[in-house]
Symmetry: C2
Subunit: 328 residues, 2 copies
């Protein structure tokens, strides 16, 4: 019997979830919910109804796991608790500093509804968190480093677009190769913000705009760019479309630690991702995790969870015996 | 209250476990069991008794988790079921093809004793298995590659030592850099045994031994070397001791997979280890996992488990709330 999935919100992430479901034989997309007029959406999967978010309660008994595809800033803090009281669900809440309060709110809603709600699923938070946990638990005396990129930062691209005279922009976060090498050597260096990442910006300026001022405003922008070595390239709208339409991302979690009675041996654990499409990979993690949510619920669990709480085997369609034979 | 650990067998792995316990404040080494005369062993940890393996039953109520440090060929198939009937325990059984039968035997013994027994813990099987599982579950359409090295293979070194005229030898397994690059590109190449790994051998020959014959016997040895590009270096006993005394190892698990409605996007997940000491890193994984075994037992679980069945959070001394705040 297949796992019945609902998608709540149909942007980049929702479309990624739809395509990932099509790669998993044990899953079935049952409905997509939207705030837009349902008839304005065209799905890729034949025969799946598009419904208004207002009629979600009607589907309470027809969906095993709801995948909530809203944004972390304003959507998920409201949507996830509301959905968790009615459905097993997953979100990708990624405002790291606010995870504890989000968890608490979702946990109480999910417990009220006797549902399982997996929050902050994806790659960071998500798979990177898993790797930080394993590597710290295995090598308790050591240092963990997370690097992001090369990839597009939506927030930084938006910040550039708000500058007067900028028509469009794309910003790449790039890890500094020499910093990666220093970390991989096991030397456990102390690294400043500037030493870890570069920022590269591709900007379409309005005709006659003062490019020197725009470049200066970008490079001195507090929080976003001032603490980084930033390069700015002015290009045409055509070039932006042609060369920078993708949403690649990735990154590295590296831990070096010591073992031995005299701490004489060094070990380096590294996990990296190189992603053509950030939203599609995030969706792929979420869809595998939907399987785990369905199983946890079948086990009788309820409340909020994170991927740190879930046995790896729960993400796979294979049985424990198959996993031991093929992958252990 | 600390977790009380016993070590069953005191070779390289047992010593590694002893040093790893000293890095974990919530653990305490309670006793070491040996087949040798107990008075012949000198531990590094003060005040810990060395006992005969024959008196292990006496400690039944004084040890929370027994870490079994025997070899996979003949020790563990006998030791782990025997210990699992009396103690929560962990082994590092690494004969991949025989894992299902080992699991079945340990499972029935552990269930009889109402104990938890974690088998095949370490890095491969172990952390590499976890990564193979996660990456296959997340990217169901793709290819997984495991590379080992650069590192010392004990089995291959032993095979060389059995050749007539060889006094001592050390063999390194080395992943082929161009194969790693091809896999990382996302091209999903088909690779033969020869294309994936090189074998490099450092051999101390007896005075007057026929080096050409020794080199030929190594390079044509079925299973061990015949399918690989192998290089042989003859060196002195002093050089072997000076340059090749370590037990480094490591390796790579890489999966590339596709996403998108047209499978138009490629993603590469890579996990790698670079280890100064193979037994000490293996021990570090085992000791973190001992914490998980103690928790599973406290939860009321029993029977055989693998690391694939264990929530990552169970390996950490931190609480779920701390983990969410600091690592998620």
């Amino acid at each position: 019997m297949s796992i019945k999935i609902g998608i709540f919100g149909y942007g980049n992430l929702g479309r990624g979830v739809e395509s990932a479901i099509a790669q998993n034989d044990d899953m079935e997309l049952v409905a997509v919910f939207t705030r837009r007029p349902p008839e304005s959406l065209k799905l890729r999967t034949p025969g799946v109804p598009v419904m208004s978010v207002n009629s979600v309660a009607e589907m309470k008994d027809k969906i095993d796991v709801m995948i909530i595809c809203g944004g972390s800033a304003t959507d998920l803090p409201v949507q996830t608790p509301a959905i968790a009281s009615m459905f097993n669900c997953i979100d990708s809440f990624d405002t790291h500093a606010r995870i504890p309060e989000h968890f608490a709110r979702v946990d109480s809603a999910a417990k009220e509804g006797n549902k399982v709600a997996l929050i902050s699923c994806g790659w960071d938070p998500g798979m990177f968190s898993v790797m930080r946990l394993y590597s710290e638990a295995i090598l308790p005396e050591g240092s963990t480093y997370t690097f992001w990129g090369k990839g597009v930062s939506q927030g930084h691209s938006d910040a550039i677009r708000r500058i007067d005279g900028v028509l469009d922009a794309k910003q790449y976060t790039i890890p500094v190769e020499s910093a990666l090498d220093a970390v991989r050597s096991g030397a456990a260096p102390e690294l400043t913000t500037r030493q870890k990442h570069l920022r590269e910006c591709f900007v379409v300026a309005a005709d006659g705009a003062d490019r020197a001022r725009i470049e200066n405003e970008i490079k001195t922008m507090p929080n976003y760019f001032a603490d980084y070595d930033t390069t700015v390239h002015f290009i045409s709208a055509e070039e932006l479309l042609r060369d920078h339409s993708g949403i690649p991302h990735g990154g590295f979690v590296i831990r070096s630690g010591k073992s031995g009675f005299e701490r004489e041996n060094t070990h380096v654990m590294e996990f990296s991702l190189k992603l053509d499409s950030n939203p599609e990979y995030t969706s792929s993690v979420i869809v595998a995790s939907a399987r785990a949510v369905a199983r946890l619920s079948a086990d009788g669990a309820c409340g909020a969870k994170s991927i740190l709480d879930i046995p790896p085997s729960y993400l796979s369609p294979k049985s424990p015996a198959e996993l031991r034979k093929e992958l252990l």
